[in-house]
């Protein structure tokens, strides 16, 4: 990790916010920025973690969970947003609640040019599809941001995406990890 200092344990704060919102299913295509949150979810006997082969699977999964009376959240990095676009139409067509947590790439001190096109446009892309965007740029506000997003999603009946700044995660470098 490098870049800005992270005064708060923001992945743990997000985890506790998901727990408090009664999220029982957490699906993901992994990102290094979600690694700790995924580990916390896997270690929790009340949460079912579902690894996906592609991000849009998590939209159907969340819709099915809601039909069955459970709440799900979907974790991905911003490159996965593009895979979701048409499937997001399910949410508006059926007026479904939905919560996705997106770690940003191609944003703060990105070293990989291939991450830039989708990373720069991911927030606009979900906005275009009717998903409310909550940017998260300060580690200290992670818990309250995810709690507010979950409330808007499941009580307010809206699709919501929290975009977690690369600044929280720390910019990668070639020396650390080329992925």
């Amino acid at each position: 990790m490098s870049g800005a200092a992270a005064p708060a344990d923001w992945p743990a704060d997000i985890f506790h916010a998901l727990k408090a919102a009664n999220i029982r299913i957490v699906s993901y295509v992994p990102d290094a920025g979600h690694a700790k949150l995924i580990r916390l979810c896997e270690a929790d006997p009340e949460i079912r973690t579902v690894p996906l082969t592609t991000e849009e699977e998590g939209i159907g999964l969340a819709a099915g969970a809601w039909l069955g009376g459970e709440r799900a959240a979907l974790l991905m990095q911003s490159s996965g947003v593009g895979n979701c676009i048409n499937t997001l139409s399910l949410l508006e067509s059926c007026r479904l609640p939905f919560l996705m947590l997106v770690t940003r790439r191609g944003e703060w001190a990105e070293f990989n040019p291939w991450q830039v096109p989708m990373g720069q446009r991911a927030m606009a892309a979900v906005d275009l599809m009717g998903v409310t965007v909550y940017p998260l740029t300060e580690a200290a506000s992670a818990g309250e941001t995810v709690a507010a997003a979950a409330r808007l999603a499941f009580d307010g009946g809206a699709p919501v995406a929290v975009f977690i700044s690369q600044r929280l995660i720390g910019a990668k470098s070639f020396a650390e990890d080329a992925a």
Partner: protein, 204 residues
Amino acid sequence: MTAAMATAMASGVGLDRRKVVAELLANRGDLLVVAGLGSPVWDCAAVGDHPLNFYLWGAMGSAITIGLGLALAQPKRRVLVITGDGEMLMGLGALATVAVQKPENLAVVVLDNEHYAETGMQKTHTAFGVDIAAIAKAAGFPATMTVKDESGLARLCQQVGGAPGPILGQVKISAAHVPLVLPPRDGAYVKSRFRDALLGAPNP
């Protein structure tokens, strides 16, 4: 498959899709049903609209993942996804996702006419030999079958009714045209009706 066989399929050889779906749903009990985009939606509607049917008029490729979410949320209920070969092909990766979760209460039936029936009868990959049941088996589904006749359909209906899943049955059906039977297309209505019937109304 040879060209002659493909022609035979298109001309009506293979099980009647409406009869297949009618048999699958004949004794549905408290079965929860997800119908994938296109003809399977009309097939389910032809059997009779039901509050515990969830119809997909879009979001192609999502029928199986909606079934998975439902199966995980309702582990004591049987969940049946009825979809087509084209819709299933768009979400093949989800077979791996389902296999990892191993939901015992989930069955997936792929009505395989080897064509995109809604868009001009273009051939799907199954017309060229892609075997969805074999893919599901390789992914780790404990029970898979390819159904080509009445006796196979009877076995599939038994499995859907109670065998430990996840199950995938690929049913070779006729590509012959059948009349449209349309269920409600308001997704918000169908969703709320489904939740009310399953969870009791009003639900949070």
